[in-house]
């Protein structure tokens, strides 16, 4: 395992994984992966399909439990903390297969985030709606405030996923392939959006296949291959690493 | 010795229970319909066998074969004419419509057959034989054999016949069924028909062992459901095994707590199974 290129030493660690492993019926999906996230950092997570990226996010979000290793959030072990309590701690996520509440309006969808997110959420409905409106405008969905969630098209659904997660007031936001299926213009808009989110003090873990976006967003990049971390560090260096090219980029070209 | 006899009774009864659940598991696994009218169809099958036996004097076991043909037709028509209209509807709706059917069938049974207890009572009903010092009631033993034979027949149909392959393909996805050149609407109706025929056979055997009334449906539905979950939805022999587990548990409970608690046992087993291994059973659905 290569040396970890640590970020600036004064930055506080918000989340840490220590050798976490996940097995499904004997198949190792994530294999002794360790990494840490500094406050307000953007860590890009890449790797070929089936490398274990989503499994990793599911373990951080709490829908899966690691078989081995420890997950720490703000210094506390969270292995056994249920998903909703992780949301209260300040961890929010988007889903690769997007999960809007189909029978609710955009505003109600996002209000759920405000009502139940960090620290248990906002108790007043009026305030929650206000917060929801803010984030809906922030993500560029202002025109569709009262539309039904299942009436939204692809890119708008992704914005909705963002708005829902952001309304939770997260400290750490996990983004699972939010750019898949978007065209160039939409990818650029999404990159700008993520930068704006970071400017608000949020820490981000970004899973992405769109290398251009990863390159322009990430402070650091981590590469998973067959569940193992094969490289980590400065985006330019990592993306030029022959092993990464072989495992990931090379595979893409064939 | 008492315990061994109880176990034997449980196993024999369990074979019949497994047969009851066979049709429900088939319909659930392939059509994704949890048929709450399944118990009512068992009851209906019981009456069909009863009336064939009473009016024609046909041997009950032969009457069961006839009843299975009739019940196949009933099931085919129900699925083709009604349930096919709603199979893609929300789960609540399939539960509700089959519950509605349960109410309708129960009422019609009460109207046509009256609420009097009926038993299918051939001349040899009381015959017993002994083996290894245990008393084996003849009818129950025969019912057990029929149950195993029907499970084997279903297994053979599903795994060795083109129709069975088409049915199993349908349970994976609908498009696959079209590849076999079968209209899925017909295939669904045939599958439901087979499930109903099996329910009919179970009803006939039930009528030789216990009393038939129009009201037995609901508890038989619940029992079938428990067994389908314990046994899984794919392998007929596992369903029979599931039935034997429930049969033994009920016989033991009757010994230790009394007969009125047999429903409590089914429910306890159900919750236990569901809560202890929810992921596995959920994936089966």
């Amino acid at each position: 395992m290569n040396e970890v290129a640590n970020v600036a030493p004064q930055a506080k660690t918000i989340m840490e994984a220590r050798g976490i492993t996940k097995r499904f019926q004997g198949l190792v999906s994530v294999d002794k992966v360790s990494f840490s996230l500094a406050e307000n950092e953007i860590l890009g997570l890449i790797g070929p399909n089936g490398a274990g990226k989503t499994t990793l996010v599911n373990m951080i979000g709490g829908t899966l439990k690691p078989n081995e290793g420890d997950l720490l959030f703000e210094g506390e072990r969270i292995n056994d903390v249920s998903p909703y309590r992780r949301a209260h701690l300040g961890i929010a996520r988007t889903f690769q297969i997007m999960k809007p509440f189909p029978g609710m309006s955009v505003l109600e969808n996002v209000a759920v985030g405000a009502l139940f997110g960090r620290d248990g959420g906002e108790k007043s409905m009026a305030k929650a709606r206000e917060i929801a409106r803010e984030w809906i405008t922030f993500t560029g969905l202002g025109q569709r405030m009262d539309a039904h969630a299942d009436a939204l098209g692809g890119p708008d659904r992704k914005r909705l996923e963002f708005a829902k997660a952001l309304a939770m007031g997260p400290k750490l936001l996990l983004l699972d392939e939010v750019m898949a299926g978007l065209n160039h213009v939409e990818v650029d808009e999404m990159v700008e959006l993520i930068k704006k989110i970071r400017a608000r003090g949020v820490t981000l873990l970004v899973i992405e296949h769109v290398i251009k976006a990863i390159r322009s967003l990430s402070d650091r990049v981590m590469v998973l291959h067959h569940g193992e971390r094969i490289a980590e560090g400065d985006p330019a260096l990592v993306l030029a690493d022959p092993r990464v090219v072989e495992a990931y980029l090379g595979k893409r070209r064939t | 010795m008492v315990l061994a006899q109880i176990l034997l009774n449980g196993i024999l009864l369990g074979g019949l229970y497994g047969l009851m659940a066979l049709g429900m598991a088939l319909v659930w696994g392939v059509l994704n319909i949890v048929n709450l009218a399944h118990g009512a169809l068992i009851m209906l099958g019981g009456y069909v066998v009863y009336y064939i036996f009473v009016f024609t004097g046909l041997d009950p076991f032969a009457a069961i074969a006839v009843a299975m043909v009739i019940m196949f037709g009933v099931g085919f028509l129900l699925q083709y004419g009604l349930l096919n209209l709603i199979v893609r509807s929300a789960l609540l709706n399939t539960l509700l419509i089959t519950f509605g059917l349960d109410v309708v069938i129960t009422y019609l049974a009460q109207f046509l057959f009256t609420a009097d207890f009926r038993t299918i009572n051939p001349s040899y009903a009381g015959a017993n034989f002994s083996a290894f010092g245990l008393t084996v009631p003849g009818i129950r033993f025969a019912a057990f054999v029929v149950a195993i034979a029907l499970a084997a027949a279903l297994w053979w149909l599903l795994n060795r016949r083109p129709l069975g392959l088409a049915i199993r393909a349908t349970s994976q996805n609908l498009v696959a069924a079209r590849l076999y050149g079968v209209d899925p609407r017909i295939l669904y109706a045939v599958t439901f028909g087979i499930g109903t025929a099996l329910a009919g056979a179970a009803g006939g055997l039930y009528g030789m062992i216990a009393n038939l009334t129009p009201y037995i449906g609901a508890s038989l539905t619940a029992k079938s459901f428990v067994i389908a979950i314990i046994g899984g939805l794919t392998n007929p022999f596992n369903v029979i095994l599931g039935g034997i587990v429930v049969g033994i548990a009920e016989s033991l409970a009757t010994l230790y707590f009394g007969a009125t608690y047999s429903d409590v046992v089914s429910f306890g087993l159900l919750v236990l199974v569901l809560v202890v291994r929810p992921t596995r059973t959920l994936r089966a659905a």
């Binding site: 007043s124 | 429910f267 809560v275």
Partner: protein, 316 residues
């Protein structure tokens, strides 16, 4: 969401209904008691089934516990009716909380059948309890005065509907609906699904049990068969679903309509009313799978074709 006029209309209807004992005859009042209690059951079912989407076929358990709680308190301990109601409600709520925690982990048909089994189990247990009169039942002290029972039933329905009205516009209700729409996503957004599901079941049990208690004292007799009657359960479900699950007034309107039709049929063709009920369920599922509320909206847009569009959407 909801305009003002349904609320105004509802208040007017409630006032008119409150006056029925003064200008209606005995038959109307007795029909009214049954209809109001059934509407309460449908509305209680709505709290869990309509808002969280968990289909319970076991609410009759809470009804039964309510009737028995009240009956046992009044006959064995000579407690007043009001205390009896509280006893029944508390027992039902405790049962809901204890049973709810394990079985609300189950989803879809698993939950539905578990509740169905629960009803059978509870009936068996109660019919073996000497204190509950075993399988014979209990006779309660006689109290004349249908008007009082009528007003009680109406008050219960009003309180229950107000509760649902509050749910529909509250943070609590948002959690329930989020669970219905997508439980996993709701969990990831911070909704403690177990807490909300169990409290919804407990609330549902509360109103169901009180309705049971009122019915027990009114009819002066309880027995296991009528207290733990699964067809009663189907009735609450179909009345709620027919009217519009997850809405405030749908379940009430749905159950009033069905009660009235049922009553007419029962007087015309007596026993076949049950058959009719089963047929209504079947037809309602085929033609109006989303309830009256959706039917009204859909019919305004596309008329009769609405009914057949539903079939087209759901058939094979």
């Amino acid at each position: 969401m909801m305009g003002r006029w349904p609320l105004v209309l509802a208040v007017l209807v409630a006032i008119v209904l409150a006056g029925v004992p003064w200008f209606g005859n005995d038959v109307a009042v007795q029909f009214g008691i049954n209809a109001l209690l059934l509407a309460t059951l449908a509305q209680s079912w709505n709290i869990l089934g309509g808002f969280t989407g968990y289909v319970s076929f076991g609410n009759s358990v809470f009804y039964g516990l309510g009737t028995y709680g009240t009956a046992v308190a009044m006959t064995h301990f000579n407690l007043p009716f009001g205390v009896g109601l509280v006893v029944g409600a508390v027992v039902a709520m405790l049962c809901a909380a204890l049973v709810g925690i394990p079985i609300l982990r189950l989803r879809g048909p698993y939950f539905a059948i578990a509740t169905l089994g629960l009803n059978g189990a509870m009936a068996a247990i109660v019919s073996n309890l000497p204190i509950a009169g075993s399988n014979i039942g209990l006779v309660l002290p006689l109290m004349r005065g249908d008007a009082i029972f009528y007003e009680l039933a109406l008050a219960l329905l009003v309180v229950c509907t107000l509760t649902v009205l509050w749910i529909s516009s509250s943070r609590y209700g948002m959690a329930l609906v989020a669970i219905r729409e997508d439980e996993d996503a709701a969990g990831s957004m911070g909704v403690n699904a177990t807490l909300y599901k169990v409290t919804a079941l407990v609330l549902s049990a509360l109103f169901t049990a009180i309705a049971g208690g009122i019915h027990a004292y009114w009819s002066t007799f309880v027995d296991p068969a009528s207290a733990f009657d699964t067809t009663l359960n189907v009735r609450m479900v179909i009345m709620c679903v027919f009217g519009g699950p997850g809405t405030v007034f749908g379940p009430v309107v749905g159950s009033f309509i069905l009660s009235a039709v049922y009553e007419v049929l029962a007087s015309e063709i007596s026993t076949a009313a049950v058959l009719f009920f089963g047929l209504v369920i079947v037809l309602a599922v085929v033609f109006t799978p989303k309830g009256l509320t959706d039917l009204m909206a859909g019919a305004r847009r596309s008329g009769w074709r609405y009914l057949f569009r539903n079939i087209r959407e759901n058939r094979l």
